[in-house]
C-alpha cells in the first residue's frame, strides 16, 4: 500500500514537461511481512522517470522482431501479469512457447528467474524472451537499434540516464525499475497477518492451518515460495522438459522446477510449468492422489513409502478457501502498472 501511494504521488508531478519539478522520493519499500530483497539496488537507483521508461518498454512491441509482441502480450496486469488465454503463450508469427508464462510480482525478492532458474539476476530477465525465437525472436542489439531510432526513447533515455545513445545497460536497468515496483503485498491474507482488519472465515482459518502443515514446507514465508527447485511428481520421466537440470547439467536436478509463489494464485491458471492443471482442485488432487515416483522426486512427497500429501475433500476445500485470500485486488487494480499507450 505504501508503494502504491508513493507511485501515485510521483505520478502527478511526472507529467509536467516545462519546468522540471523537484522529483519526489521514489523508492522501493519492503512490506513488513516480507524477507529482505536481494536485488542490487545500489547499482540501479530507482527514479520515477526510470520506472516510467521501463513501464513503456514492458508494453511496447518494439521489443519483438516484427513489432507484434510485447511483454504484456503474455503478462497481463489483470491476471497478476500472467497469460489469461494460453497454456503456452504465443510469440511472433503465432509460434507457441513450451512453458506456461508465470505471473510477475515481488521480483526484488527472487534469486532465480524462470521455471528452471536459468537467470540469476533480474536485470538479465528480459533478454530471455527478447531473444527466444518462440517469443520475441529478436536480439538485444537490434532492439537497441530500434530504440535509438525512436525519438521518444532516445530523448527519454537521455533524460533519465544522461547518455546520448541507449545501451543495453540503461535499457535493462529501466526494465528492472518497472519490474521491481510490481510488489503484491495487499491481499486479504496480508491484511489478516498484519492486523489490518481482515478476519479469516472459519474455512479460511482451517485452510491456513492445513497450509502450514502440508504446503508451507515448499511454499514458505510470506512470499509463499522458498525459492528452491523441486520435482513435485508430475511425471515418471522428464524427456520433454528436464527443468532445472537443463541449467545445472546434473541428473540430480532432472524434473525439478522452481517452486512458484502462491500469491494471486486464483488469477494465474493454468498451473504447473506446462499448464497441465486448469484449476486449484486439480492441483490438490495431484498432490493427494497423482504424485508419480521418479528418482529425483522431492522427499517431502515420498514419506514412509507413501507418495503425495494426504488430503481429504474437506481439507482441499479449506485450503482453496485460504488460497483465495492471497488475491491482491489492489495490485491488479493499480493503474500505475497499466499500459501507458
Amino acid at each position: 500500500m505504501v508503494i502504491c501511494t508513493t507511485i501515485l504521488a510521483a505520478g502527478i508531478t511526472g507529467c509536467t514537461d516545462e519546468e522540471k519539478p523537484v522529483e519526489p522520493a521514489f523508492s522501493f519499500r519492503k512490506p513488513v511481512n516480507f524477507p529482505e530483497p536481494v536485488y542490487t539496488f545500489e547499482n540501479n537507483p530507482l527514479t520515477k522517470d526510470g520506472f516510467e521508461l521501463g513501464r513503456r518498454l514492458f508494453y511496447d512491441p518494439i521489443l519483438s522482431s516484427d513489432g507484434t509482441i510485447s511483454c504484456s502480450s503474455c503478462h497481463q496486469p489483470v491476471r497478476a501479469f500472467s497469460d489469461p488465454a494460453h497454456v503456452f503463450s504465443i510469440g511472433v508469427e503465432n509460434r507457441m512457447g513450451n512453458r506456461n508464462a508465470p505471473p510477475i510480482f515481488n521480483l526484488a525478492f527472487q534469486k532465480f528467474f524462470f521455471w528452471d532458474g536459468g537467470v540469476n539476476h533480474l536485470d538479465f530477465v528480459p533478454i530471455n524472451p527478447i531473444e527466444n525465437e518462440l517469443e520475441m525472436n529478436s536480439s538485444l542489439s537490434s532492439v537497441l537499434e530500434r530504440l535509438n531510432q525512436d525519438d521518444y526513447y532516445s530523448g527519454q533515455f537521455r533524460k533519465v540516464f544522461g547518455k546520448d545513445t541507449v545501451d543495453s545497460r540503461q535499457m535493462l536497468h529501466a526494465m528492472s525499475q518497472f519490474l521491481l515496483m510490481l510488489v503484491s503485498d495487499n491481499s486479504s491474507y496480508d491484511k489478516y497477518i498484519r492486523n489490518e482488519g481482515y478476519l479469516l472465515s472459519a474455512s479460511e482459518a482451517r485452510g491456513l492451518n492445513l497450509f502450514g502443515q502440508k504446503c508451507a514446507h515448499c511454499h514458505a514465508t510470506d512470499l509463499f515460495s522458498d525459492g528452491s527447485f523441486r520435482n513435485n511428481g508430475l511425471d515418471p520421466a522428464f524427456s520433454n522438459d528436464p527443468g532445472r537440470s537443463r541449467i545445472t547439467e546434473s541428473g540430480a536436478d532432472l524434473g525439478k522446477f522452481k517452486v512458484p509463489s502462491l500469491r494471486n494464485i486464483a488469477l494465474t491458471e493454468p498451473y504447473m510449468h506446462d499448464g497441465r492443471f486448469a484449476s486449484l482442485q486439480e492441483v490438490l488432487d495431484h498432490y493427494s492422489d497423482g504424485v508419480q515416483y521418479s528418482p529425483t522426486l522431492d522427499p517431502f512427497l515420498n514419506q514412509e513409502g507413501t507418495l503425495g500429501i494426504p488430503l481429504s475433500e474437506q481439507e482441499k476445500q479449506d485450503i482453496i478457501a485460504f488460497l483465495l485470500t492471497l488475491t491482491d485486488e489492489s495490485f491488479i487494480g493499480n493503474s500505475q502498472f497499466y499500459d501507458p499507450f
Binding site: V119, F124, N132, S139, E249, S250
Partner: protein, 258 residues
C-alpha cells in the same frame, strides 16, 4: 577481506603521478594464429586441419580476457584496474575487429616484470551485480540469455566432417557457477600465467608491447583431441570442459616490442 582490499588498493597507489620512477603503458597483443599461419576468417576453402586431420575454416573467434596482472621480478604485482560496472578491466578480443586484439594496460609503474597473467572468461560477480557496461554489454552477443552468463570463448566455423549441423562447428564456451552441493555446475573460468622470458622493462612514458600468440589448433589438440564429426554444436558449460582444458595452453609468449 583485508588481502582483497589491499590488492585493489595497491595498483591504484602505483597509478599516482608522484611515483618517483613514473609509469608507462603496456600493450598486450593477442595474435590469433592457426599453427604457423595467421588466422583468416571466412575463407573460401578449408585451410586448416585439427589433430585428427579434419579440415576446417573459421567464421568467428571471440574471447574475454580479464583480471590482467603483471608480476614484478620482486614477486609483487601490477593489477589492471577493474571497475564496479565492468567498464574497466574486461576485454573482448574479436578476430574480426583488429583494434580489439590489443589491450592497453595504463599506468604500469616503471620496473622489471617477468610474468603476465589473465583470466580467460568473466567471473561470477559481473553477473550477480546485474547488467554491466563496456566490453560486458549483454548486447555484444556474448551472453547466454537462457542460462544467464557470459560466453567466455565463442568459436564458429565450418568443416566438411559434421553432417548434423550443416557442416557447422560451433563452440560457445562459458560457465562460472560453482556450488559444492551441486557437482553438475561447471566452472570454466581459467587463469593463464605466461612467463615473459625476455623480461619486460617498463620505463616512464614508454609503451612496450607484449606480443602473445594464441594458437587455435591448441583448442582441439591436447590433452583432448576434439572430433568435429560429433557434438559439433556445443552451448553449455559441461559440454565444453574438454576444450577448456585444451585452450588454456593456446596462449603463449612470443616476443616484446620496445
Amino acid at each position: 577481506m583485508a588481502a582483497l582490499l589491499l590488492s585493489i588498493v595497491l595498483p591504484s597507489c602505483d597509478n599516482e603521478e608522484n611515483q618517483p620512477s613514473g609509469s608507462g603503458t603496456v600493450t598486450v597483443k593477442f595474435d590469433n594464429r592457426v599453427g604457423d599461419t595467421n588466422l583468416n576468417l571466412d575463407t573460401e576453402d578449408y585451410p586448416y586441419s585439427n589433430d585428427l586431420g579434419q579440415e576446417f575454416k573459421v567464421s568467428m573467434l571471440r574471447y574475454y580476457i580479464s583480471n590482467v596482472k603483471l608480476k614484478r621480478t620482486d614477486g609483487t604485482y601490477y593489477e589492471d584496474e577493474v571497475s564496479d560496472d565492468g567498464s574497466k578491466g574486461y576485454y573482448l578480443v574479436d578476430e574480426a575487429n583488429p583494434e580489439s586484439t590489443e589491450l592497453n594496460l595504463k599506468n604500469v609503474p616503471a620496473g622489471d616484470y617477468d610474468e603476465l597473467s589473465f583470466v580467460i572468461g568473466v567471473d561470477a560477480s559481473r553477473v550477480t551485480e546485474g547488467v554491466q557496461t563496456g566490453a560486458l554489454y549483454p548486447a555484444n552477443d556474448m551472453f547466454w540469455s537462457w542460462n544467464a552468463g557470459y560466453i567466455f570463448v565463442r568459436f564458429e566455423g565450418f568443416s566438411p566432417v559434421p553432417t548434423e549441423t550443416n557442416n557447422g562447428v560451433i563452440y560457445h564456451i562459458g560457465g562460472y557457477k560453482s556450488d559444492p552441493s551441486n557437482p553438475g555446475l561447471v566452472d570454466n573460468i581459467r587463469e593463464r600465467k605466461i612467463a615473459i622470458t625476455e623480461g619486460l622493462s617498463v620505463k616512464k612514458d614508454a609503451n612496450p608491447m607484449i606480443h602473445l600468440k594464441m594458437d587455435l589448433l591448441e583448442f582441439f589438440k591436447d590433452p583432448n583431441a576434439i572430433d568435429f564429426s560429433s557434438n559439433a554444436s556445443r552451448h553449455s558449460p559441461a559440454a565444453c570442459t574438454d576444450i577448456v582444458e585444451n585452450y588454456v595452453k593456446a596462449f603463449t609468449f612470443d616476443h616484446i616490442h620496445e
